[in-house]
Amino acid sequence: MRSTVIVFPGSNCDRDIAVALKKLQFKNEMVWHKDSELPKSDLIVIPGGFSYGDYLRSGAIAAKSTILKEVIKSAERGCLILGVCNGFQILIETGLLKGALLRNKNLKFINDDVYLKVNNKNRFCKKYSNNQIIKLNIAHNEGNYFTSSDHVKNMQDQELIAFQYSNNKGDVNEDYNPNGSMANIAGILNEKKNILGMMPHPERMTDKLIVNEDGLGLFSSILN
């Protein structure tokens, strides 16, 4: 399977994602933000970091870059798109995913290992069991997902909420909501379910020596 990782000035999880993809035998290519063409690929990843310094607003400038026009075209053709952290923020800024990512409720950067409850009814999570609890790492300033309550309802009905913050038993409530996100949302899909945006970093949990391999399920789901 072929994958492409977009590199913006200020991206800093590009290498980490590439390492994870290679571990699963993806044929991966890195693409620079000034490029105007995308290589043929089955998966496009927009990695975490601080694209263009996150000036103006997280992801706002990246969303207007040359390469993003190509990403949008590919997305419309049904290519799988994964945006992690800053990548999720960029997908929101392009309008490929709906809602907004506000500053964390405590107004501070948060780096922590968190538990997530998985909805496996999509291409990105099918290797997990439904409602499986996994542990991933978050590292962001603006991960507080906000949208209309109608939209949340809509996403629940269509099973578009891929990840919710929870405890290790799978309880989803305010006590286990690190950043104030509505409905503890940590990751969402578009209606066609070919685009996933998520704040937690699956690429960081692909190595037992670091913490665990809970992130591998996501990459192996995409593979098959």
Binding site: P9, G10, N12, G53, N111
Partner: protein, 726 residues
């Protein structure tokens, strides 16, 4: 323009220093020249008060590739891998403008590391704030922590360790020390020494603005009530540009374009050009009208003294300019040839073809003043007799008080604001004895720790200096690393005061002794003097950044208990030293007495056997015993793992407070499986190392004889309480 006494004073120079300048030039300097001298002759750049004493520190062992004197120290960790590291202070700027001061402290130390061709792989820091009741402390804490996080998180280098402490001696002068660690190919280390005449001198990175003018001079003076007015001398950081500069420099370093490279840190363009020329025995001529400027009508004086961030000076081999420029264009960074190397041994500054300054390089560097300042020995205080008789609280209350105290409380409030995992090689994070960072794509790692113990140094600097080197060594041992070398940041008060100068001299003496005995040399560092306001000096605060090597990723250890039913041992002898401990300072509010003694022989023997246990997979957990004594070490092992312990004091003469709260040095606590007990005891006895068997691990309750029994979950709540409510 005639230079008045007032102008000399404003440049932080003494009258006799001005006379020395005139003598070296055979004339009076003009204002630009005076500015250049002030930038080079201040304490921060010239080490004029500390140089004589720093020389005493050992700087070599079989691992050292580059010791002090370069942008950072370099050690060899085998397989052509080199580790490049240094710690530096940004104390004064951080007090005036905490966010930017701390952020640019991180930016500056990172540049020191990647200037040498290393990709930064870890950041650490040591922070000292004033008393928590001081009205400035909270906003300074918030500002500094978010500044450090803001810079490191954005550039994408994990902040893996550090310390945050509070004491009233820092009320008006906080300490912000940042350490950066990078990984390089041993065969591709870049140095600042210029070579060859008529080579292009290139300016790369951000444009020059009016920020930070005289920053280094400001950092070399005491504060007074007008310090707030110095805000414009604080630099403004842009981690995004630094990330671009990092990537562009590393890209250019892939081939042989660069002769030498130096970051523009303190004293900006002045110190970088002078240092490169001086090391190469050359001169340098700069055409200042070519310097990329952020603001209009900047004068040569402003350009030479600006401390705008994210800039580098590079000397290129002939014919490499075009290709190098292409790389910097790709990263949207300025790239301008602003001058050339010469054989004049002078720094010649021109503006539109007119010579504005012409100074012999030596006058700015090797002929800068060096002072053998007067110093006074610190008298060792007598041990407080009958200290235990003054204890008027229960054992149980004392434990609660320690857990709730700001200095001992859980610091995850701070460390959660730092991205600790980016780059995906962090095997052990903040809160451990040392952090462990894997060398990317390799089966080895380095261990990193930052430590200080100012109250020991304040009481008796000779012991304090020894102690802090040993603590760094011990922290590396505790995770299974072989200690290799250190970087140091010496934060002291006004060296013109003989008592303060004495603290500096004796701390260095103490450090020297420990470094030599442990084969643990200093490879880089920084001295920050004049830390004080209105004659009130800070506690002498040497901060040590230690680096150790782990050659097998399966032979590492941490301090968390692993299972119930295993045995708990204290390695090293407990004498019950209570003076200058957390218990006596923070719980009993006693200030006098000597710090615990260091016995280097025991220190080394005890450490080596712990290292051996880890390599033989005989231990489940290891924790060094430091401030707070055995009790705090045990509590941390329990609280961070969720596994309880049942503990009893061995039957000897010490009182419970002395045994559990004493801070005798060279001790470790280990958790071992029962089946390994015989083997471990045999090894300990063979090496004649004292040990106490003090109990075993158990489910979720922490218990000491009949005097203390609590659920781990409640202890954690207590330990987290202070930060959460501050």
């Amino acid at each position: 323009m005639k230079i008045s006494d007032n102008i000399i004073e404003k440049h932080g120079l003494k009258k006799d220093e001005f006379q020395k300048i005139s003598k070296l030039l055979n004339r009076e300097p003009n204002l630009l020249e005076l500015g250049v001298f002030s930038a080079m002759w201040n304490e921060h750049c010239s080490y004029k008060s500390s140089k004589l004493h720093l020389k005493k520190l050992p700087t070599k062992n079989e691992y050292v590739i580059q010791g002090p004197g370069e942008n950072a120290g370099v050690i060899d960790i085998g397989d052509n891998d080199a580790i490049v590291f240094k710690i530096e202070s940004h104390n004064h700027p951080s007090f005036i403008e905490p966010y930017q001061g701390a952020a640019t402290g991180v930016g500056g130390i990172l540049r020191d590391v990647f200037t040498m061709g290393a990709r930064p792989i870890a950041l650490l820091n040591s922070l000292h704030f004033g008393d928590i009741t001081n009205k400035k402390t909270k906003s300074l804490l918030n500002g500094v922590v978010s500044g450090i996080g803001g810079y490191g998180n954005c550039i994408g280098i994990p902040t893996v360790g550090g310390e945050t402490k509070f004491h009233k001696s820092y009320n008006e002068n906080i300490l912000v020390n940042a350490m950066a660690v990078g990984h390089a190919d041993k065969r591709k280390i870049f140095y600042s020494k210029a070579r060859g005449v008529n080579k292009s001198v290139v300016y790369v990175g951000s444009k020059t603005g009016r920020d930070g003018i005289h920053g280094a001079s400001m950092a070399s003076a005491e504060f007074d009530e007008k310090s707030e007015e110095k805000k414009p001398t604080v630099q403004v950081g842009d981690p995004f540009t630094e990330k671009l500069l990092l990537e562009a420099c590393l890209e250019l370093m892939k081939d042989d374009s660069i002769i030498s490279i130096q970051d523009m840190g303190a004293a900006g363009l002045t110190s970088s050009s002078v240092e490169m020329a001086f090391k190469g025995g050359l001169g340098m001529e700069l055409d200042l009208e070519k310097v990329p400027c952020r603001e209009k009508n900047m004068t040569p004086y402003e350009m030479m003294l600006s401390e705008s961030q994210e800039r580098m000076l590079i000397i290129l081999n002939d014919g490499k300019e075009a290709n190098a420029k292409k790389i910097f264009d790709k990263w949207d960074l300025d790239f301008v040839v602003i001058g050339k190397t010469t054989n004049t041994n002078k720094l010649t500054l021109k503006y539109n073809d007119k010579v504005e300054a012409d100074i012999p390089i030596e006058a700015l560097s090797s002929k800068a003043p060096i002072y053998d300042r007067k110093w006074k020995k610190t008298k060792k205080q007598n041990k407080k007799r009958d200290l235990i008789k003054t204890i008027n609280l229960s054992f149980r209350d004392a434990i609660f008080k320690i857990l709730k105290s700001p200095n001992q409380s859980n610091k995850s409030w701070v460390t959660k604001q730092y991205d600790q995992l980016v780059m995906n090689d962090t095997l052990l994070r903040s809160g451990s004895d040392s952090a462990i960072v894997r060398i990317h794509n390799k089966e080895k790692a380095i261990a990193l720790t930052v430590d200080s113990s100012a109250n020991y140094c304040n009481s008796y600097p000779l012991t304090g200096g020894k102690q802090i080197v040993c603590e760094s060594w011990r922290n590396l041992i505790s995770v299974g690393a072989k200690p290799i070398s250190i970087t140091n940041c010496l934060n002291f008060g006004n060296p013109e005061n003989p008592e303060i100068m004495g603290q500096l001299v004796e701390t260095i003496d103490g450090m020297r002794e420990a470094c030599e005995y442990l084969n643990f040399p200093v490879v880089s560092g920084n001295v920050s003097l004049y830390n004080g306001t209105n004659k009130k000096n800070i506690f002498p605060t040497p901060v040590i950044g230690g680096v150790g090597l782990i050659e097998n990723l399966n032979k590492i250890s941490d301090h968390k208990f692993k299972k119930t039913g295993s045995k708990i041992l204290v390695i090293g002898k407990t004498f019950g030293h209570l003076d200058q401990t957390v218990f006596s300072n923070e719980i009993l509010s006693l200030k006098n007495g000597p710090p615990p003694e260091i016995n280097l022989i025991n220190e080394k023997n005890n450490g080596e056997i712990i290292y051996d246990f880890i390599k033989k997979n005989l231990v489940n957990a290891v924790h060094d015993v430091s401030s707070g004594g055995i009790i705090l070490a045990l509590l941390e092992m329990s609280m961070h793992s969720g596994i309880g312990a049942k503990i009893a004091k061995p039957k000897h003469s010490l009182n419970q407070f002395e045994y559990f709260f004493g801070e005798d040095q060279g001790r470790y606590i280990i958790e071992i499986d029962e089946q390994n007990l015989n083997k471990v005891e045999e090894l300990l006895e063979k090496s004649s190392i004292h040990y106490d068997k003090i109990g075993h691990t158990q489910i979720d309750e922490f218990q000491i004889e009949k005097d203390f029994r609590e659920k781990i979950i409640d202890l954690n709540k207590l330990n987290n309480k202070w930060y959460n409510n501050y």
